[in-house]
Amino acid sequence: MTALVELRGVSKHYRRADTGETVVAVEDVSLDVHRGEVLGVIGYSGAGKSTLVRLVNALELPSSGSVTVGGQELTAIPERDRRLARRKIGMIFQQFNLFRSRTIAGNVAYPLKVAGVPKEERDRRVAELLDFVGLLDRAHAYPEQLSGGQKQRVGIARALASNPELLLADEATSALDPETTSEVLALLRRVNRELGVTIIVITHEMDAVRQIADRVAVMENGRVVEVGDVYDLFSSPATGAARRFVRTALHDRPSPETLVRLRERHPGRLVTVQITDEAGLQNRIDQAFRTAGVTAELVYGGVGEIRERRIGSLTYEVAAPDGSSAPVDQAIAALRAAGVTTDEEARA
């Protein structure tokens, strides 16, 4: 896969006007975005995600490092050329940022006017785009007459107007309710699949990443601390930040509060195994329990899928018939030996 976007050692520092102190928004980020993928960038507010995405379309220029999009180094060309480059990069926003003085059709037509597309072709393209996002019948409405989800669909149509190869989504679903969020994410997925547009999705919601991303970059304090395939990140997050985000989207592991309640009902040792999409996993788990001669009662957990691959975790109460501890240790060792990621829940 070739890289559409290449960030090399990118940092962005601001000087605060009031105190004069330097604020680090983005620090030494090197990251590739592959052609045709959906990259999720997740982080808490203030992690530098929004600045990072504005460096990609050069709305902001880095303090150091280089930004290359489609082979063109945006940090090395004059502003005039950067404006031309931006026409090939669409952007959608948390607050939609639609022009209130223009109709829906007028909003979608704006980038085409900027690009000097003749009226006839513009009208045709606007109709095509509004049809794609399912809002052709609202062409002459004004933004305030639309719901949040509809506004974001207009935002998407406007961002796609000039046939960009890259779409930047800055917290595009954060102002929407869960159902509308899913609709908008499904539309973005279509944009990616059907139109082949590469998408960078900035979000603080791991659920959004789970629904749409192929790969994820986790940001913390201006740095990208972890990058990887979305399935790998969910099944084996390496950093604390990634683990915390995964936990917000997967509810199959008992929280500390749940654990306290589980312990009241289940006096035995609680063992959590991770479910991946490896074949024969269930068999190996059963075998490990059987060989060790323990009973295993399923007390908590869940199994779902990410990018059509199985993922989840199951928590068992494991006990030996005679109440001794050794067979349980043996069972845990056997699970690990069989390649099953296993954690014993610590006693409170």
Binding site: L59, R83, G90, M91, N97, P111, Y142, S162
Partner: protein, 223 residues
């Protein structure tokens, strides 16, 4: 009370000419100050540090110039720019001199109104336009002005009323208009009917302007 309505009837042709002069001075000044003030206001907005064409130097210069002119009371301003008026409109008295002075003074007031209303436009739409690859000048003219148009119209209406006020002060240099009529035919002759009729005419002119402004603004804001 030696005043009767008869004096108004007797000077009716003077009254009509005064109404005409007031309207001409205020409308011509509003148009000229509207255009100059718009350009100056756009420049103030755009050069503000962090904005589209942010430049601390340019902004500071514009800001200081506007702040220097704005506090000068109009009657003094009118007298002070007489030399400039002689160069530009070839006279220091009458309707042309007053119109010139108002156009200039009101430009600075308009520039602040424009700047304030543009600052109130959601910066998000400016960012959306920048992300589309639009040129800053194009963003000023095709995004910011349309987005801020409703409040801008109300701001211009506000300025229009101030301009009508200034036309009356033009009486000082024989400006013509209702101000001069009210003073020379009215108060200086203790002819209060003339003064009241002038006041009534001014109220009607201002109300009309406010009415038109409100209508236009409502149409633009769609509410």
């Amino acid at each position: 009370m030696n005043s009767t309505f008869q004096s108004v009837v007797d000077t009716f042709d003077v009254f009509l000419a005064a109404v005409r002069d007031t309207l001409v001075m205020s409308i011509v000044s509003l148009v000229i100050a509207g255009v100059i003030g718009l350009a100056l206001g756009l420049a103030l907005y755009a050069t503000r540090p962090g904005n589209l064409l942010g430049s601390r130097t340019a902004y500071t210069i514009l800001n200081v110039v506007v702040n220097l002119v704005r506090p000068i009371p109009f009657v003094i301003f009118l007298a002070a720019i007489a030399p400039l008026s002689r160069v530009v409109v070839q006279t220091t008295i009458g309707v042309p001199a007053v119109t010139f002075a108002i156009s200039l003074a009101a430009s600075f007031a308009v520039s602040r109104i424009v700047e304030q209303n543009l600052l109130a436009v959601d910066p998000g739409v400016v960012e959306a336009a920048r992300a589309s690859g639009a040129h800053p000048l194009s963003i000023l003219l095709t995004v910011l002005i349309p987005e801020g148009l409703g409040p801008l119209i109300l701001g211009y209406t506000f300025i229009y009323i101030g301009i009508v006020d200034m036309t009356a002060q033009g009486a000082l240099v024989g400006g013509g208009g209702l101000g001069e009529y009210a003073i020379t035919y009215g108060s200086q002759r203790y002819d209060w009917w003339i003064v009241y009729v002038s006041v009534a005419a001014i109220v009607v002119i201002v109300q009309l302007g406010q009415f038109i402004g409100n209508r236009l603004a409502r149409a633009t804001l769609r509410r």
